[in-house]
């Protein structure tokens, strides 16, 4: 039975040519009308989200990211543009069709938004009631979901008795109840401490890889992007200013907005009084302060050490860190190179030749 269903699914998929993109946002604009003025919350936003990826949208508060994610399930009605989710333009649906479509788009929230009048079990039951799932089947599904998010022991408890992390697990179970194709995460970890954030993001990543569930999350925290996302879009002043792989944005941010988000979590700046001091003490020799960024494989090679030997200069390591973005090492090092001017220049060339990004600070 399921074999045939699968076959039919596959045949259908090939015939229709299931698009690689689950979500296709085209020229989306949203204008809010207040009594005295018009506020442009989204300005001609276009974005594509691939099936099975975790896509992050980062922006400061007021940048429009919240409006954007709310447009995708029509909690906000866009002023212009189209949003195609799984081949269906969400913006053109009538009420009934929209209710149906929303059942296949899960959403989790910063404030969890669990019903205080229902137990954990009944909270997860809620979307199944809405979809008129037969009760026996629904109860079984709730059991599975609670097991999956790791709070099966709290089934009979009311949300007020749970910690933030547990509440969000209930939120995730609830959002997944109707087997959505897409999960929207509206700052889902912003009310949680860093450790709980990590565990929730890990859960989302597990669900993503286990069920190939596409996740779209918005956040103002680059750590969240770094820990969970495959791709990221940076939103600033109602516009998408940059889209790309998380790693490439981290190593080579193309806009000041992206740069500032990265700086917030990757400390690259050497304190000023320190650099002043340094330059004074070596006034007799040429010295140069550089920042070296390295990604992936080059992180493993002893390039600095061989540079010192090769060009006979001194290198003073002032600051360094290594991070991981999606399991690829990524880091930066602030170095003071001291020696003959020519040797210093040559050693910088050497590092560049070996694939490192170099920025001269002073």
């Amino acid at each position: 039975m399921s074999y045939y269903a699968n076959m039919i699914g596959i045949i259908k998929g090939t015939l229709i040519g299931e698009a690689a993109h689950l979500v296709e946002i085209t020229n989306l604009s949203k204008i809010y009308h207040t009594a005295h003025q018009e506020i442009l919350a989204l300005d001609n936003v276009s974005l594509s989200i691939k099936r099975g990826e975790i896509f992050g949208i980062i922006g400061l508060s007021g940048a429009g990211k919240s409006t954007l994610i709310r447009c995708i399930n029509m909690l906000e009605k866009p002023t212009r543009g189209s949003i195609i989710v799984d081949g269906q333009d969400i913006t053109t649906l009538n009420k009934q069709e929209l209710h149906q479509a929303r059942q296949k788009i899960g959403m989790i929230f910063q404030q969890f938004n669990l019903l205080s009048s229902r137990t954990v079990f009944d909270n997860v039951m809620f979307p199944l009631e809405i979809a008129h799932t037969p009760i026996k089947q629904a109860r079984q599904r709730v059991g599975e979901l609670l097991e999956m998010v790791g709070i099966a022991d709290k089934a009979r408890v009311y949300p007020d008795q749970l910690s933030g992390g547990q509440k969000q697990r209930v939120g995730i179970a609830r959002a997944l109840a109707n087997d959505p194709k897409l999960l929207l995460s509206d700052e889902a970890t912003s009310a949680l401490d860093p450790q709980t954030t990590r565990s929730i993001l890990k859960l989302l990543k597990d669900i993503n890889s286990q069920f190939n569930l596409t996740i779209l999350l918005i956040t103002h925290d680059m750590n969240v992007i770094k820990q969970a996302c495959d791709r990221v879009a940076v939103i600033s002043d109602s516009q998408i200013v940059e889209v790309g792989d998380v790693l490439s944005i981290f190593s080579n941010p193309g806009t000041p907005t992206s740069q500032s988000f990265i700086n917030a979590i990757v400390n690259k700046d050497v304190p000023e009084e320190y650099t002043d001091n340094l330059l004074r003490t070596h006034s007799d020799k040429y010295s140069c302060l550089i920042r070296v960024a390295f990604i992936g494989s080059s992180a493993g090679e002893p390039l600095i050490s061989s540079m010192i030997k090769k060009y006979d200069i001194d290198a003073n390591i002032l600051y360094g860190n290594i991070d991981r973005v999606k399991d690829i090492p990524f880091g930066n090092l602030t170095l003071e190179l001291i020696g003959e001017r020519e040797a210093v220049d040559q050693s910088m060339e050497y590092l560049k030749r070996n694939g490192l990004e170099i920025e001269v600070i002073s």
Partner: protein, 238 residues
């Protein structure tokens, strides 16, 4: 009058006091029953109509799930209009309607009509206040799952506001106890009639005082019952 005071002074501690005044107990008991009956039924009826009106008031507001400026404004205006009429005047105004409904304007059943009519807009506002305490996020969460307006009302708004709604029922009941006394003055029956005819017109101070005490106890009980139910509900949720 003098004789009565003498009777009170001499007899209140005496054994023959209660046998001599047993008619008072009988009267008060019957009037208490009438008041109880009148108030409870009027409260129930006023919620039957007032609760849906309160829901409509909230959900037809701008940006809410059944946004409709027209309905919201019309309903709000009617409610304010009825609420601005003093009850004692309202009682008399609706007499023709009362006659139409129950065939008479005197007695316990007849008083339920103005009591219910006056309480409906009150209940609508009380329910409105309760429903507005609910965070918008909860409604949004339900909408995001594909809930329709009825499901939002039935599964989110009312269950979430239930403790607050029950407090509202206690407040309404207590209000109606006061109203029922006014209805009593124009022949509505219950403790109001008793206090008015015997206490005020016949100078039977004892009846007046007993009535007052019964009313105090009654109101205390209603409030306590409401508080207990709410406490039970919120404790369960915590």
């Amino acid at each position: 009058m003098g004789e009565y005071i003498f009777a009170v002074n001499a007899g209140i501690l005496g054994s023959d006091f209660w046998t001599g005044n047993s008619w008072i107990i009988e009267k008060v008991l019957q009037a208490t029953w009438e008041t109880l009956y009148m108030v409870v039924i009027a409260t129930a009826l006023s919620y039957l109509f007032g609760l849906p009106l309160g829901v409509i008031l909230v959900t037809t507001e701008e940006g809410h799930i059944l946004e409709s400026k027209g309905i919201n404004r019309i309903l709000g205006t009617i409610i304010n209009a009825v609420r601005s009429i003093p009850f004692i005047i309202f009682l008399i105004l609706v007499i023709p309607f009362t006659r139409l409904v129950v065939g008479t304007s005197i007695g316990t059943v007849a008083s339920m009509v103005p009591l219910t009519l006056a309480a409906i807009p009150f209940v609508a506002r009380v329910v409105e206040t309760s429903l507005k305490e609910i965070e918008w996020g909860l409604i949004e969460a339900a909408l995001s799952m594909g809930a329709n307006a009825w499901q939002v009302i039935n599964k989110v708004l009312i269950p979430e506001a239930r403790p607050s709604i029950i407090m509202g029922v206690a407040i309404t009941t207590i209000n109606l106890v006061g109203y029922s006394a006014m209805a009593g003055i124009v022949g509505g029956g219950g403790l109001g009639t008793l206090a008015y005819y015997y206490g005020y017109q016949r100078y039977e101070d004892l009846i007046m005082w007993v009535t007052v005490i019964v009313l105090i106890i009654f109101v205390q009980c209603v409030q306590m019952l409401g508080d207990k139910m709410v406490a039970k509900m919120t404790n369960q949720r915590r």
